[in-house]
Amino acid sequence: MDATTHAANPAKARNLDTVLLRKRLKSGLAHGAVLVLVLIMLLPLVYMVMMSFKTSTEIAQNPLGLPESLYWGNYMRALSEMGYVRSVLNSLAITVSVILIVVLAGAMAAYPLARMKSRISRIIVMIMALGLATPNFVTITPIYVIFRDLGLLDSYLGIVLAFAALKMPLAVFFYTGFIAAIPLELEEAAKLDNCSNWQIFWHVIRPLLGPVTATLSLFVMIMVWNDFIYPLLLLTDKDKLTVMIAVYKFVGNTGIDPTRLFPAAVLGSLPLLLMFAFFQRKIMAGSTAGAVK
C-alpha cells in the first residue's frame, strides 16, 4: 500500500526519504560523538596498559609511543612482589560480603522509611543522607576506637562491618527513593491476600528492586575495591591485605616508576573489570525478570 501511495505521490516519497536520511545522519553524528567521548575516556586506560608493557628505556625514549614488543617482565615482577592471588581473594571476599550486607540491610531499612509518612522517618532519612556527606577523616578515629574495643581489629569481620556501615547511608538513600515510587496498589493487593509486612517486602517489593540493586552494587563494589585507607588502618596481618594495598606499595612519595606501578595497577583493577562485566549482565537480567512478575 505504501509503495502504491509513494508511486502515486513522488513528492511525498522524496520528503519521507529526506526525513529518513536526516534521522540517520543525526543518529550517525550522535553515535560518532559518543564514540569520540568513549575513546577520550579510555585514553588514560589505554596509556596505562601500553606503558605496563614497556621497558624503562623504552618509556624514557618514547613515552607516548606504542611498545615495540609486549614486555611481560614488568608483570612477572609485579606478580611476584604483590602476593596477587591471596590479595585478590581477600578483596573479592570483602567486597562481595559488603555488597550482600549493604543490599539486604539497606533495602530492609529503606522500606519502612519510604512507606511511613511520619516526621521521624523523614528525620531518619535526613540523618542517613548526612552520613553520605560525612568526610572520611571524621569517622576514621571513632571507627578505629570502637573496633579496638570490640576486638574487631585485624579481622575480616571488622573490615566488612566497617565498609558495610560506611556504605549503608548510600544504600538507604538509593532504596528509599526507589521504593517510594513503587505504586501502593501492589502492596494493597498483597494485603488482601493476608500477606504480612515481611512477606510483602520479600515477595512484592524485593523483586522490583533489581535495577537499583544493580546500580548500588556496582557503586559499592567500586568504592570498596578501590579503598585502601580502611584496610591499611584496620588490617595488619599481611595475609589479610587487599589487592589495592598490594598496588599501593608501588606508589612513590615523590614520583612514580611506570614499569612497576602500571602493571600492578592493571592487575589490581582487572578482577574489578571482570566482576563489573559479569555482575552487570547477571543483575540486569535478574532485574528484568523481577520487574515483569
Binding site: 628505556t57 625514549q61 578515629t141 578505629y144 606499595k249
Partner: protein, 407 residues
C-alpha cells in the same frame, strides 16, 4: 608423682615458649616499599640478625596518607612500635604528647648537626631520630649541554642564562620550570640569603615578603630566565613537577630539571642518561646554593607495645655503618657531624657548594615557614608565570597574607 611430673613438664614448656616468644616490631614508614626501598630490606635483615628475638613487620604508608592512618592509632593507644615522622609530624604529634622522649644524652643526639637538632628538639625533649638531609637542586643532562658547547653544569645566574641561550640556539629545550615545585626551588634559592638567614623572620611575620629586597629580586630573576629563553612560562606554568617533569628529563627532552636528589636512583637506571646533580644558581653565591631538606626520622609512640625493641631499632640506626646503607640508597647526606658522605660523584658540585657553606635548610622542612605558605607559594608562582607583567607585590602579598593567617 605423675601429676607433679606433668605439672613440671607443662611449666617448663610454657616457660620455654615465653622465653622464646618472638617479638614482632610494628614499624610504619613511607619508605621501604617497592617504589622507594631506601635500603630497608638489607637493613631489616641486618637488624634481625643482630636481634634474633625480634621480627620486623614494616608497613608502608605514603607520606600523604600517614596523617589519616596513624592518628587514630595514636589516639586509641594502639600505635605502631616505631613510626616515621618528619619535622611537621614531630611537632604536631610531639606537642600532643603522642611521642616518647628519646632523651638528649644518647651519643647520636650529641652528634646531631646543631641546625637539625634545633628543628627537632621540642621543649628540651628529643622525640625524633633524624635519618637524612636530602638535597634539592638542578639535574643537568650533560650530553645536551655538550651539544651546546658547555662542559660543566651552570651554578651561577650568568652561566644559567648563557646555557639557556646556547641550548635554545641548538633547538634544545633548556629548562623545566613548572609553576609549583620547580619555581619554588629557584625563587627560594634566590630569595633566602644563606648568610643573612632571612627566612625565620619572614615566616614569623616579623618581616614582610613584599618589602624583602631578595624575594623581589628573585621574581625579577625569573623574568630574566624567560628573557634568556630558558623556558616558555605559559607552557610550563601548569606542568606536573612530580610526574611529567622527571619523565621529560628521563626522555632527554630537556636539559635542566629542578628537582630533589631522591630522583638520582631512578635517573641512574635510565640507560644512556648522562647527568649531574648541581646546586641551584643564585645571586647569593658563585657556587650555587644547595637547598637541603631535613628528611624523615624515627619516633617511638608513647603507647608503643614493644618499647624496648623499638629502642633497639633506633639504636641500630644510630650506628653510622647502618645509617650509611640508608643514606647510600637515598642519595642523601647524614644529619650527624663527622659522617662520611655517601653521595655519588655526579653530585660533586652540589656537595662542593654545601662544603663551602653555600647552603640553606629548606624553610618548609625546618618549619620556619608555616605549612599553609607552601600551597600559597605554589599557586601564586603559577599565577606569576602566567602574568609576568604584574607587579611583584601581587605575588608577595599573598605570601604575607598566608603567614598572617597562620599566626
Amino acid at each position: 608423682m605423675t601429676r607433679n611430673l606433668l605439672s613440671t613438664t607443662l611449666f617448663a614448656l610454657l616457660a620455654g615458649t615465653a622465653a622464646h616468644a618472638q617479638i614482632v616490631l610494628d614499624v610504619v614508614a613511607w619508605k621501604g616499599n617497592e617504589a622507594e626501598p631506601a635500603g630497608m630490606p638489607q637493613l631489616i635483615e641486618k637488624f634481625e640478625a643482630e636481634h634474633p628475638e625480634i621480627t620486623v613487620d614494616l608497613t608502608f604508608v605514603a607520606r600523604k596518607d600517614i596523617d589519616k592512618v596513624i592518628p587514630p592509632r595514636l589516639q586509641s593507644g594502639n600505635p605502631p612500635d616505631v613510626t616515621m615522622v618528619d619535622s611537621a609530624l614531630n611537632k604536631l604529634w610531639g606537642e600532643a604528647g603522642f611521642l616518647t622522649d628519646l632523651g638528649t644524652d644518647a651519643d647520636w643526639v650529641q652528634r646531631m648537626k646543631p641546625e637539625v637538632r634545633e628543628v627537632l628538639e621540642l621543649d628540651g625533649a628529643m622525640l625524633t631520630q633524624p635519618l637524612e638531609i636530602i638535597g634539592m637542586g638542578n639535574f643537568v643532562n650533560m650530553d645536551l649541554l655538550a651539544q651546546a658547547g658547555i662542559q660543566t653544569p651552570p651554578v651561577t645566574l650568568d652561566e644559567l642564562t648563557a646555557a639557556c641561550g646556547a641550548l635554545a640556539e641548538q633547538g634544545i629545550s633548556p629548562m623545566i620550570f613548572s609553576g609549583g615545585f620547580s619555581a619554588m626551588l629557584f625563587v627560594g634559592a634566590n630569595g633566602i640569603d644563606p648568610a643573612a638567614g632571612n627566612a625565620a623572620a619572614l615566616g614569623a611575620g616579623d618581616d614582610r615578603f613584599v618589602e624583602d629586597a631578595s624575594f623581589n629580586q628573585a621574581l625579577d630573576r625569573v623574568r630574566a630566565l624567560v628573557d634568556a629563553q630558558c623556558f616558555d612560562p605559559e607552557l610550563q606554568a601548569g606542568l606536573d613537577p612530580w610526574a611529567t617533569a622527571p619523565q621529560e628529563f628521563r626522555s632527554g627532552n630537556v636539559a635542566i630539571l629542578p628537582q630533589g636528589a631522591w630522583n638520582i636512583g631512578s635517573f641512574q637506571q635510565v640507560e644512556g642518561l648522562n647527568f649531574q646533580f648541581a646546586p641551584m644558581p643564585s645571586g647569593f653565591s658563585d657556587k650555587g646554593v644547595a637547598l637541603d631538606l631535613v628528611g624523615p626520622g624515627w619516633a617511638i609512640p608513647r603507647d608503643a607495645e614493644h618499647a624496648d625493641a623499638a629502642r633497639a631499632w633506633v639504636d641500630f640506626f644510630a650506628k653510622p655503618e647502618n645509617l650509611a646503607i640508608f643514606l647510600q640508597a637515598e642519595n642523601a647526606y647524614s644529619p650527624y657531624e663527622g659522617a662520611e658522605t655517601q653521595m655519588p660523584e655526579l653530585a660533586a658540585s652540589y656537595t662542593a657548594a654545601r662544603d663551602a657553606g653555600s647552603a640553606i635548610l629548606w624553610p618548609f622542612s625546618t618549619l620556619e615557614f608555616p605549612k599553609a605558605l607552601q600551597p600559597e607559594w605554589e599557586d601564586s608562582l603559577t599565577g606569576f608565570l602566567l602574568n609576568l607583567d604584574d607587579p611583584n607585590e601581587d605575588t608577595l602579598q599573598r605570601w604575607d597574607d598566608a603567614v598572617e593567617d597562620s599566626l
